[in-house]
Each structure stands twice: as structure tokens, then as C-alpha cells.
């Protein structure tokens, strides 16, 4: 006991059982005991039911209800036991200072500074070399961890699988003909041969919209890109790369469901709302002699979200 304890002096041996600290906090311990017993019984019953439900392979909710109900009952009973039937206290514990005496601290510091420092200071050169060696070891051990993880990005992000003359196919691999889409309809296309590849799905995905029956110009310089009103844009949102999957036909807006960026289809897919910073890149199209749609070339700029080298 230290000097700040101005409270009831207590015997070191113990408290009398009559001491109010040792009494249960419940006014009628017997009644509480009964309730706790009931809770325990309920818990046991529910857990047994859980076993039954599990063996009989009943619906998942019955498993959770019995397991959860059982655990909650047992838990509630035990909490009540601790709260109402155990000594109510309050009890006290002294807090001994963590800090050591001045001389202990000095002895510690002396060992670190004088012993360690003395030995290293005398061989500064070796110490420096050791430090460098450990540093190099640390950096070098990162190499297998980091470098073998994946390929260098190189030009990957700058091009897609679209090339001059790629046929536009839908997800089943069927080529798209100019007679396929009515004005106002939309579909997702891939370069032929890539509709089932990861890259085709994730990078090459392109929305094809028919916005009129005539050749259409979305922007200056793109006069020949949309034959017979077929306009194709990269489906990768320029914000974070979600597929721009919603089409507002009346407003001619492509909408990204992720953060609601909107792109004006008739106007070079210029974003007119939301966090997307750039228009969707447009894919220049042409029509072959049988009316099948082809790309004139790859996209003229990287598709999808921004990155440093872009």
C-alpha cells in the first residue's frame, strides 16, 4: 500500500465474507441463479439441436439459429454470473512505475553507448562496411520478391489486339454486319479471335452503337470512322476502367455504373459528367464488301485509366 491510499485500511490476509465488496451485486442471488440456470439449459438445448440440424442436413438458417442462439444463451448466462453473483468489488491494484531507477537507467545507457560505441568507433571502417553489406543484402533480397512477380509493362498499356482489318465479333464470335443493329441499339464487340481471351475481355472490349443510318462524324478529323452510323468506343472507363455498360438512348449518353461518369456518344465520347477525365477512345471502323464491320486500325491512344507513362 502506498501513501495515496486514503481509503479503508484492509487486512493483508483477506476480506471478511461479510464485507460488502464480497457480496454479489444482485439483490436476490437465488432468483438470478435460477435465470442463469435457465439460460445455460437453453444454451445446451439449442446446441444439441444444432447437432441434430447438422446431422439431418437442415436448411442453413437452422444451423445458424441454433448455433448462434446456443452461444448467445451460454454467453449471456456467464456474463450474468460474473456481473451479479461474483464479488461486486470494486477492487484496486497498485500501479508500479514502469521506469527504473536512475542508476539502472544509467547502467543500461552506459552499456549501450560506451561498450557498443567504443567497440564500433574504434573500427569505423569495418562498421561502415558491415552496414553497407547489410543494406545491400536487404535490397538484393527484395529482387526475387519483386522482380519475378510480373513482366515489365513495356508498351502493353499502349495498344490492344485491334489491328487494321480486325473483324468486329460479338461474345459468341459472330461477325457483325451493317444490317445487324437498328438505330439506337448497342452491343459489345471484340477483335475476331480474341473474344474468349482474358485480354480480349478486359482490354479490347468495345461498345458498338448505331446512332444513325448515315456515315457519322463524332469529331473533326474522324469523318470516315463511323460508316453507316456505326460508332465504336473503348468500353473501358477512363476513370478506373469499369466497363461503361449503360446506354441512355435518348440522351445518347454512355454511363459508367461505377462512379456515374457519362460520355456523349455523338460528340467523341466527351465526358460531360462525373470523375472520368478523358473521352473514351474511338475505334475507326470500315465495312468490307459483304457488309461486315472491321477496324481500320488499333485505337489511336491508350484505352482505360490514366497512368504515368501515358
Amino acid at each position: 500500500m502506498s501513501d495515496h491510499d486514503q481509503h479503508t485500511p484492509v487486512s493483508l490476509r483477506g476480506l471478511s465474507a461479510d464485507d460488502p465488496h464480497m457480496q454479489p451485486a444482485a439483490r436476490r442471488p437465488r432468483v438470478v441463479e435460477g435465470w442463469i440456470g435457465l439460460l445455460f439449459l437453453l444454451g445446451i438445448a439449442l446446441l444439441v439441436l444444432f447437432a441434430v440440424a447438422f446431422v439431418m442436413n437442415l436448411a442453413p438458417w437452422t444451423l445458424g439459429a441454433t448455433l448462434g442462439g446456443g452461444a448467445v444463451s451460454l454467453g449471456a448466462g456467464l456474463i450474468a454470473w460474473g456481473k451479479y453473483l461474483m464479488p461486486r468489488g470494486p477492487f484496486v491494484e497498485e500501479r508500479h512505475p514502469l521506469a527504473n531507477s536512475e542508476s539502472d537507467r544509467d547502467a543500461f545507457a552506459a552499456a549501450v553507448v560506451e561498450r557498443g560505441g567504443g567497440i564500433i568507433q574504434r573500427r569505423k571502417f569495418l562498421g561502415g562496411l558491415l552496414g553497407t553489406g547489410m543494406g545491400v543484402f536487404g535490397v538484393v533480397s527484395l529482387f526475387p520478391l519483386v522482380r519475378s512477380l510480373g513482366p515489365m509493362p513495356k508498351g502493353t498499356l499502349f495498344h490492344t489486339d485491334w489491328t487494321a482489318g480486325s473483324y468486329l465479333v460479338d461474345i459468341t464470335g459472330r461477325r457483325v454486319n451493317v444490317s445487324d443493329l437498328a438505330v439506337g441499339s448497342i452491343t459489345t464487340v471484340y477483335p475476331e479471335g480474341f473474344e474468349n481471351t482474358d485480354n480480349g475481355q478486359a482490354v479490347d472490349q468495345t461498345v458498338l452503337i448505331r446512332i444513325s443510318n448515315e456515315n457519322f462524324t463524332t469529331m473533326k478529323g474522324r469523318e470516315s470512322w463511323a460508316p453507316q452510323g456505326y460508332v465504336a468506343y473503348s468500353k473501358l472507363c477512363t476513370h478506373l476502367g469499369c466497363p461503361v455498360g449503360l446506354y441512355e438512348q435518348q440522351l445518347q449518353l454512355l454511363v459508367c455504373p461505377c462512379h456515374q461518369s457519362m460520355f456523349n456518344v455523338a460528340n467523341g465520347a466527351l465526358p460531360n459528367f462525373g470523375p472520368a477525365p478523358r473521352p473514351l477512345p474511338q475505334l475507326p471502323l470500315m465495312v468490307d464488301s459483304q457488309g461486315y464491320l472491321q477496324s481500320q486500325s488499333d485505337y489511336k491512344e491508350p484505352v482505360g485509366p490514366g497512368f504515368w507513362e501515358r
Binding site: A71, G82, R88, P90, F91, E93, R95, M152, Q205, P277
Partner: protein, 515 residues
């Protein structure tokens, strides 16, 4: 027991248990420390329970998680589903998705375990946040406990990270979109982003490696780090002892409350069962992440209601309302509309949280040891700062459902967007002075923060009403007992009223008292 001198004889005054303890002490020397540990005092205040919720939901996560690993296959190999869930029959999907669907429908107890795991993850993160708020607003992070604040913050970061990784594993349409967004966020980091993203994913999105990598991080690496940090957290807690609110008999140099054994042990074990049970009930009755409804991830498909788990909401909100400010120049692009809200903002936020104890120490010049807690209203500036940050995060969280709000209130998306942009700035700015004002006012209210005492209103014979404070415990003259050390023995026989009472008398503390 430490009070008996150790003899060569293997017998103990305390029978078999005493004997086992003696044998243990012979080998490990645990008697003294063990006794101190049993006497360790836990303050009786509900807010000390929040950390326990986090701990117990983490235990549920580990147990249910191990169950899930038995069935989940972390593979992106495409398979044709031929399981029991008919709407997906014959569809192509990754093995990961197929195995999660099977886990939900074909494995006995599988759906319950999945839903419990997911609920436990949400509760885990939530409990950490609320626990942290308690520590912040009461100043429990002050010297000597700064290190535990740092560990706790790291635990929150890891909980969020592991939650995201786990959420990604089923490879359904919603979580796959989440991974796509994460790839783009990493890509947005200036200078090294492209390399980071390619290395992490083993190539351009989606690559073939990401689920296997997420899996091992999710089930091994991060849980191990969390486990180690939880251990360190609890070790420091025992070493430094609990803080406590000021009150009768409570000083900077003691701790007042209930002892580890038996009171706290009973309550906390009960609470472990209770938390587990509640998670099981949620798993049974509250559907969460019904991945079979979302369908498998196909990169060119998108689900309309894309919403991450709640702890990622503030990032999603920030991404939604940040203006489209891409920087281009000097031959490079910095997608600031992504980098600022999703990399730099959380970076600043968590740096500030980590640094808060140091910031406050610098500001107040207070380098004292603190074991008594602050009442929030007594530290109006800290409280107001905490409220402002909470409001900022809340507004960002709300901003993650701009589309839902627009639909619900039938207003234009544009209106909601601008409203949120304004609210995100204005609400925190206004809440600071408001919280400061309220805290200051509360300082003047007598009895704030004191334990509430029930008044008993009595009508006297003259018809006058008088209110007298009732005892804290029924039939007890004491309002607050003075704290006493945990006794070694319970002394003295008490008269018993019948034979059936006898058992009570011999069990310390579990004694029937006639009143």
C-alpha cells in the same frame, strides 16, 4: 500458491489443483506472476469492451476462415459449372467462383460459415474503429501508450486490407470489378504505378495470378501479422495496465475495477460466446454477399449496384465526388482524379492518425505519464478535431451512394454530386466549432460524466415530495464503495440459513447473502 513455502513434498494445502500448480511452478516459476495476473484489475466501464469485440470477431474470422480454405479453390482456370445451383448451370466461370458457389450450396454448413466469415469481417473492422474512437476521445493514447496506438492503427489498416482481399476471392461480378478498380488505383501512382500494378498482378489486368496471390496474403501473411500485433497489443496492455476514468478512489497510481479471476474471466468468456453467437445469428438470418446472384466475373460485364464493403466506402465516395482533374505535361500523365482521393488522401489521413500522439504532445508540451482518462468535454479541441474527421469520413461514406440517393429522392445526380461536394467540406468545418462549443458548455454542467444516481421520490405525511438519491446497489447504504485490494482469503464463517447454502459458503465470492 505463493503464500505457501515450497516444500519437497508433492502435497499441497490446496489439494489436487494446488499440487498441479506446484508442479507447474517447479518447472516454470509461474506462481508469483500467476497470482498477479489473476489479480489484474479491469476497469468496469462498458467502453473497455469494444476492443474485446474486435478480438473475438477476429477469432471467429480465423475459425470460419480455416473452414473456408478447405473448400475454396484460388484458381482463375475457367470451368463449366455443373453444380446444384440451377441458374448458373452450364455457365463458364473461374474455379474460384465455382468453388464459392459450391461452398454456399453443396457443403454442409458452408453458407453459414461464409456468411459468418463475412459478417465477422465487417464487425471486426467496425469494432476496431469504435474502439479507436474511444481511445482517441478519452486521451488513452497519451504517454506511455503511444506504441499501442500505433499498433492499433496498423491493425485497422490490415483489417481493411484483408477485408478487401477476402472480398475479392469469390471472383464474382461485383468483387471482380473491385479488383479492376484497385488495379487502376495502383496504376495511378506517379512514376512507379505501372510497375507496381504489373508486378502485383503478374501482368496487365486481369492476369492469371491475382487470386492465388490474394489468397495467400489473405489466409496466411496478413492474418499472421495481425495475430502477432494483437499479441503485442495485449502484452503492452498487461505491462502498462489499463487506463481508467477518474472517480472515487481512482488515482494515477492505481487501477480500480474487477479482478481477472473470476469476475473478468467470467464476463469476457461470456462475451466471447455472445459475440460468436451474434455473428452466427447474423450469418443465419441476414444475407450477406449472395455471390450466386451477381454471377461470375466477366471483365466486359458490370453489375449496376456496385458497392464495396462499408470500410471501403469512404474511398469509393472520395473517388466519386473528386473532380476530373487529370494532369498532363512534360510527357507524362498523373491521374490526379484518382491519385488524390484514393492514394494521397488516405495516405495523409492515416499518417495523421499515426502521428496524432506526437502532434498533441508537441502542441500541449505535455510529456507526463497519463493513466487517468480525459472526459471528452474537458479536451474540447481534441474532441472537436475528432468529430470533424469523423464527419468528413461520414460524408465521404454517404457520397459512395450518390446514385442510390438520387434515385431515392428523385433528384438529379448532378444535384446530389454538388450537394455532396459541398457537404464534404462544409460539414466538417462547421462541426469543429459546434463540437467545441458543446464541449465547453458541458464543462459548466454539474455532474456531467458522473455516475447517474436514481432518485427515490417520497411523499411525506404533509403531502410534500422529497427526492433522495437511492443507493447504487439495492438495500445498500453505500453509494460507492471504496476500492480494496483483491483478497487472498475470504475470512470468517457466516451464519447460514440452511444446509443448501453450504456450497455457497465455501466458494469465495459466490455466496448467498441474506438481506
Amino acid at each position: 500458491m505463493s503464500t505457501t513455502s515450497r516444500k519437497a513434498t508433492p502435497t499441497s494445502r490446496y489439494g489436487k489443483v494446488g499440487h498441479v500448480l506446484n508442479e507447474l511452478d517447479d518447472r516454470l516459476g509461474v506462481a508469483k506472476g500467476g497470482r498477479t495476473f489473476l489479480d489484474k484489475i479491469f476497469p468496469d466501464h462498458w467502453s473497455f469492451m469494444l476492443g474485446e469485440i474486435a478480438l473475438y470477431s477476429f477469432m471467429v474470422l480465423m475459425l470460419t476462415g480455416v473452414f473456408l480454405t478447405f473448400y475454396y479453390v484460388p484458381s482463375q482456370t475457367v470451368v463449366t459449372y455443373n453444380g446444384s445451383y440451377l441458374p448458373l448451370f452450364g455457365q463458364h466461370m473461374s474455379e474460384a467462383y465455382a468453388s464459392t458457389v459450391n461452398l454456399s450450396f453443396a457443403v454442409r454448413g458452408g453458407l453459414l460459415m461464409r456468411q459468418m466469415h463475412h459478417w465477422a469481417a465487417d464487425i471486426f473492422a467496425g469494432a476496431i474503429v469504435v474502439h479507436m474512437a474511444r481511445v482517441f476521445f478519452t486521451g488513452a493514447f497519451r504517454k506511455p501508450r503511444e506504441l499501442n496506438w500505433t499498433i492499433g492503427t496498423t491493425l485497422l489498416v490490415l483489417a481493411i486490407a484483408n477485408g478487401f482481399l477476402g472480398y475479392s476471392l469469390p471472383d464474382d461480378l461485383v468483387s471482380g470489378t473491385g479488383i479492376r478498380i484497385m488495379f487502376s488505383i495502383i496504376l495511378s501512382v506517379p512514376l512507379v504505378g505501372t510497375y507496381l500494378a504489373f508486378f502485383l498482378f503478374g501482368g496487365n489486368f486481369p492476369g492469371t495470378d491475382i487470386l492465388a496471390r490474394f489468397f495467400i496474403l489473405h489466409v496466411l501473411v496478413i492474418p499472421l501479422i495481425i495475430l502477432g500485433l494483437v499479441g503485442a497489443h495485449l502484452f503492452l496492455l498487461v505491462r502498462q495496465k489499463h487506463t481508467q476514468f477518474p472517480g472515487p478512489g481512482r488515482t494515477e497510481t492505481n487501477v480500480v475495477g474487477s479482478p481477472m479471476f473470476p469476475v473478468f474471466m467470467a464476463k469476457t468468456t461470456g462475451f466471447l460466446m455472445f459475440v460468436t453467437g451474434v455473428i452466427a445469428l447474423l450469418g443465419a438470418f441476414a444475407q450477406i454477399n449472395p455471390i450466386w446472384q451477381f454471377g461470375p466475373y466477366v471483365a466486359s460485364r458490370i453489375s449496376y449496384a456496385v458497392q464495396p464493403d462499408w470500410y471501403m466506402g469512404f474511398l469509393d465516395g472520395a473517388l466519386r465526388i473528386f473532380p476530373a482533374w487529370e494532369f498532363t505535361g512534360f510527357g507524362h500523365t498523373i491521374p490526379l482524379e484518382v491519385t488524390l482521393p484514393a492514394v494521397i488522401f488516405p495516405g495523409i489521413l492515416f499518417t495523421a492518425v499515426y502521428a496524432w500522439p506526437a502532434i498533441e504532445r508537441r502542441y500541449t508540451g505535455d510529456n507526463e505519464l497519463h493513466n487517468l482518462l480525459d472526459r471528452p468535454h474537458n479536451r474540447p479541441k481534441r474532441t472537436a478535431a475528432g468529430v470533424a474527421v469523423t464527419m468528413l469520413l461520414t460524408m465521404l461514406f454517404i457520397a459512395s451512394s450518390t446514385d442510390v440517393i438520387a434515385n431515392y429522392f428523385k433528384v438529379s445526380l448532378n444535384t446530389v454530386l454538388w450537394a455532396m461536394r459541398i457537404l464534404v467540406i462544409v460539414v466538417p468545418l462547421l462541426s469543429y466549432p459546434l463540437a467545441y462549443r458543446i464541449a465547453k458548455e458541458m464543462q459548466g454542467v454539474a455532474g456531467v460524466g458522473k455516475r447517474k444516481v436514481t432518485n427515490v421520490v417520497v411523499r411525506t405525511d404533509d403531502g410534500e415530495y422529497i427526492a433522495t438519491p437511492a443507493p447504487v446497489y439495492a438495500d445498500d447504504a453505500h453509494h460507492e464503495l471504496d476500492p480494496v485490494p483483491v483478497p487472498t482469503f475470504i475470512e470468517g464463517a457466516v451464519e447460514t440459513s440452511g444446509d443448501d447454502e453450504a456450497e455457497f459458503e465455501t466458494t469465495p465470492g459466490v455466496r448467498r447473502v441474506e438481506r
